[in-house]
């Protein structure tokens, strides 16, 4: 009988998950799923962060105050805190394909409503509702974990998330260019920004439809009902949830992610306005600089994953923890510096360096996540992912709402918070592998299955 494995373009394991990762191939179903996943998540980041680069125009048209802008920035992440937690269950029940496409398509009308809004309150509601679509990060990672085997899943997850995050940067460059193009037809500025929003909305709709028509949930087909492998014992959802929530490492990683990815989200929100206001740049130049922060994700987040894997190979979990702590602390120092430099040239240099380190830290965080718990991996991923958006909300609330601190002081304070919130990494300890300062306390050839049952 011909082996089922041979029908796939890529080499696969016993579950038909791909064991290699070829990002420049479109082979169905694995690489095609990868491209659909990162592209549709890219579109949601593109829509969510399409507003910040155009804020200098929007704030005048909608009569916004600094308080309104700050509240809207916070609102933009609040929705995604809950939607990210819910998305994990939705993927389990409906499959990542339907869950992500449904969320994207239902959020498209929200993006289009940028054409109608005219008050600060409606602006805040708009940002809140668009933010829900960021939950597609969870379906993206879930889909990659379903398609790629353990030996490449870290890389697949890192590249899928990194390339998608580039959307937050690309939009800061592209939206001002679209706006400039529209105003060149003598359309008034207050209308031109609204017309510009048709682009991210349509892009999001098209990618979501592509996911529905060309994607499939699993290497063997789509979800019909929850497939349970007979080798794994059945677990109650509640027990799995409780087990994950009671693991302190999940909370520490959530806090860590809140101060690398959360800071990245916050910077995406404030940086274009910061450069526009502080250095008197025009909207396209401020957008281009803001974009350079986001597009670096193309390699810096995957690089974080690769570094984590390499350090893990050489030094075990200790290497992964040390590299995470070092990279995030350096990122914090660069953030402090960013608020202190007074010239445009130095600011651009610092922000480029800062972007590499903060995004690598995000990749490094998800290099530790799979080791925390095998039984409650989904819950730990959800806690970490949500922690990212909680960090963004808290940072924006404390530092970037209203006019209490100048923006440059707030940026430096954010760097201080990053350094403080990465010190708990030093407390993470795995009895069988050790921690940053202590060696393992169990026998080093602990059987994987026994670990799995306990953790």
């Amino acid at each position: 009988m011909e082996s089922k494995e041979s029908q796939f373009a890529l080499p696969v394991d016993s579950e038909h998950k791909a064991t290699v990762f070829h990002p420049f191939s479109l082979a169905a179903p694995h690489m095609r799923a990868f491209h659909l996943a990162w592209l549709s998540l890219f579109a949601t980041f593109f829509s969510t962060f399409a507003i910040p680069p155009l804020l200098p125009i929007i704030r005048e048209d909608l009569k916004l105050t600094d308080t309104d802008i700050g509240n809207a920035g916070i609102a933009s992440f609040m929705g995604s805190i809950f939607s990210r937690l819910a998305m994990g269950t939705a993927c389990d029940v409906f499959g990542p394909r339907i869950a992500s496409a449904t969320l994207s398509l239902l959020t498209v009308p929200i993006v289009f409503s940028a054409c109608f809004i005219s008050t600060p309150q409606s602006f805040i509601v708009l940002r809140f509702l668009i933010g829900f679509s960021l939950a597609n990060f969870i379906s993206n990672q879930f889909w990659m974990s379903s398609m790629f085997s353990g030996c490449v899943v870290g890389l697949a997850n890192g590249v899928a998330a990194g390339w998608a995050n580039v959307g937050a940067g690309a939009t800061q460059l592209i939206m001002p260019l679209i706006f400039a193009f529209i105003t060149s037809f003598n359309v008034p500025a207050f209308t031109a920004w609204r017309v510009a929003f048709v682009v991210p909305a349509l892009f999001q709709a098209v990618t979501a439809l592509m996911v529905l028509f060309y994607g499939q949930d699993l290497p063997d087909g789509n979800y019909k009902r929850r497939q349970r492998s007979s080798t794994k014992p059945r677990e109650s959802v509640f027990k799995v949830l409780l087990h994950g929530l009671s693991n302190y490492r999940g909370w520490v990683l959530g806090l860590t992610y809140g101060y690398c990815f959360g800071v990245e989200l916050t910077v995406d929100n404030i940086i274009a306005q910061y450069f526009y206001d502080r250095f008197n740049l025009n909207i396209e130049t401020a957008g281009a600089i803001a974009a350079s922060f986001g597009v670096v994700n193309f390699f810096s987040r995957p690089a974080g994953g690769v570094i984590s894997d390499e350090m893990g190979r050489r030094f075990g979990i200790r290497g992964r923890l040390w590299s995470l702590w070092i990279v995030q602390t350096v990122a914090g120092l660069l953030c402090i510096l960013l608020g202190r430099v007074n010239t445009l040239g130095a600011s651009i240099l610092v922000i480029c360096a800062f972007s590499v380190f903060v995004q690598a830290a995000s990749g490094l965080t998800f290099g530790v996540v799979p080791f925390v718990s095998k039984r409650s991996l989904g819950v730990i991923s959800g806690m970490t992912g949500s922690g990212g958006t909680v960090g963004a909300v808290v940072t924006q609330l404390l530092l970037f709402s209203g006019s209490k601190y100048s923006k440059e002081t707030s940026i430096s304070l954010m760097g201080v918070m990053m350094i403080i919130c990465s010190t708990p990494i030093t407390f993470i300890y795995f009895p069988q592998w050790g921690g940053m300062f202590c060696g393992p306390s169990y026998d080093s050839d602990w059987v994987d299955e026994e670990y799995r049952l306990i953790e």
Binding site: A189, R194, V198, A205, L212
Partner: protein
């Protein structure tokens, strides 16, 4: 000899610094008289209404006060009430950093009297409360004097401008159509899938 050279250098340096850091508003003399057509409390529409501004040297100042004035710029400036909670419109004494006056009405060579301009309010002027200020510049392009339609505390003789609405009927319709399309296509997909599974069964 050395001390003289030192003095000259330090004088040059301080002049250079002054030019580099720009003039300070508190150091400017209010030697120009500026009047504008909007009455106090009047609200004008951007894109439609016109503002007429006239300005000239205040004759009560000694002759020769305006010897350095080469060009003037007339600007539309935000009143304090429109600057509250909006750091991007903040008033700062150092004029290179000051954001009070962001809309240029006209820029022309200086004349002591008979200056007048009629300006149609541009469509990108936002809804806010305003006054008008005229800056006089020297040959190096540095502010040396000013005049404004309001008092020193910017409380009197302020007027409002109402911006155009950015909304457009055709844009609203296009947005509704595309939104409906995306939601309908989602439910259409579910219907097709259900029909496929029913046929397969």
């Amino acid at each position: 000899m050395a001390t003289r050279a030192f003095l000259v250098t330090s004088l040059l340096l301080s002049c250079l610094l002054q030019i580099c850091s720009g003039a300070y508003f508190s150091s400017l003399q209010r030697t120009l008289i500026v009047t504008a057509s909007p009455k106090a409390g009047e609200v004008l529409k951007s894109g439609e209404d016109k503002i007429t501004v006239t300005w000239g040297l205040n004759q009560s100042y000694p002759a020769g006060t305006d010897s350095a004035y080469k060009t003037v710029k007339v600007k539309l400036c935000y009143a304090p009430i429109s600057q509250v909670d909006r750091a991007w419109r903040k008033t700062v004494d150092q004029l290179t950093k000051d954001k009070t006056c962001q809309h240029m009405i006209v820029s022309q060579p200086y004349k002591a009297s008979n200056n007048s301009v009629e300006w149609t309010i541009e469509k990108d002027v936002p809804t806010a409360t305003y006054f008008i200020r005229t800056y006089a510049y020297d040959a190096e392009g540095q502010e040396v004097a000013y005049g404004q339609t309001t008092d020193a505390h910017k409380t009197t003789n302020l007027f409002g401008i109402e911006a155009i609405t950015g909304r457009h009927a055709s844009l609203d319709i296009a947005a509704i159509c595309f939104s409906a399309f995306s939601v309908i296509s989602l439910f259409g997909f579910f219907l097709v899938e259900k029909r496929k599974t029913r046929v397969a069964k």
